[in-house]
């Protein structure tokens, strides 16, 4: 098919889709005019029911907590998938990367990069812990804080400390942390069942509105998710780096 014919075939369908889009967008409520009742209902009901200042967090971990559990296991499964795909295959050898340009000295990481990266380690760790711990109060939570936490060891790698980075990645421990996080969510769900309420029902007394332990079981769920996401992300990055650094192609 010539380019011209393809364009002629494409044009009517493109116009059709464009017309549908315009029609659909014209039917939307005006920008910034929210219609649905649920947002208003939740904003009114949530402070009494869950006591979390961050209503989004209460929605994610309570009102649709079961859904979040599913998402958590999607992440869990994808980390396992990456680890499975990238494991050392039968026809691969493990070894240090070969020197492609012999006689050329490798540039050491610049001092400025090293300093900047290493000074970020503590900052990222503190920020990550803060975001995980304050999920019920301010924007953030386990998912976001967990990935920020995973960034801290990555900074060590960026600073050129590959060996320290590898030493910081005890794979069994990371896998344990990831699984503990995933299991912790489910255990919290069953706690609700054991006291005779629904799955993931809150059983923990609500601390005063706006305090760090407010929100009942939301902080605990956030810590579980944070643990899983941080450990899982470091595992994935570790697997990828292992691929480029250690495992070489066919024998």
């Amino acid at each position: 098919m010539t380019r011209r014919a393809r364009l002629w075939l494409f044009a009517p369908f493109a116009l059709g889709v464009a017309a549908l889009l315009v029609w659909g967008i014209r039917g939307l409520p005006p920008f910034g005019h929210y219609h649905g009742p649920y947002g208003f209902v939740l904003a009114r009901v949530e402070p009494h029911e869950r006591g979390a200042t961050n209503v989004v967090s209460a929605v994610v971990f309570d009102y649709r907590g079961f859904d979040t559990m599913g998402e958590e296991f999607i992440f869990f499964a994808s980390v396992i998938g990456v680890a499975m795909l990238l494991r050392a295959q039968r026809d691969e050898t493990e070894g240090s990367p070969e020197d492609r340009a012999e006689g050329r000295r490798l540039h050491a990481t610049a001092d400025a990069v090293r300093m900047a990266a290493l000074s970020m380690v503590i900052a990222l760790t503190v920020l990550g812990l803060y975001v995980v711990a304050h999920g019920q109060l301010t924007p953030g939570g386990g998912f976001q804080g967990g990935i920020v936490l995973a960034g801290a060891p990555l900074m060590i790698y960026l600073a050129g400390r590959v060996l320290v980075f590898e030493a910081l990645n005890p794979v069994p421990l990371l896998e344990g942390a990831k699984s503990t996080g995933a299991a912790g969510f489910v255990v919290m769900g069953f706690v609700g069942l054991f006291v005779g309420a629904a799955f993931l029902s809150n059983v923990i007394p609500l601390a005063p509105f706006g305090s760090i332990f407010s929100g009942g079981d939301i902080p605990i769920l956030n810590v579980a998710v944070g643990l899983e996401v941080a450990a899982g992300t470091v595992l994935v990055i570790h697997e990828y780096l292992e691929q480029t650094l250690v495992i070489r192609g066919s024998r």
Partner: protein, 79 residues
Amino acid sequence: MSVVQAAVSVAVAFLAVAVVRTRDPLPQLMLFSIFGTSLALFFFVLQAPDVALSEMVVGAVAYPIVVLVALAKAKRRER
């Protein structure tokens, strides 16, 4: 829609097209990272800081790193 929201949404649209039109993987990835940052900013000015945080770490950092390492591996094979 305020001026800031309009400006950021134009930036998002512009960067998205720029990402698609770049053919070389490495510059494309760098552009994608900038696009991710602009998208995070877009969520932020639309008052969705939770989503902005996720987008910032995933779109601007985590995904580019994974692709970067994959590119390094693929380049080595090519030679």
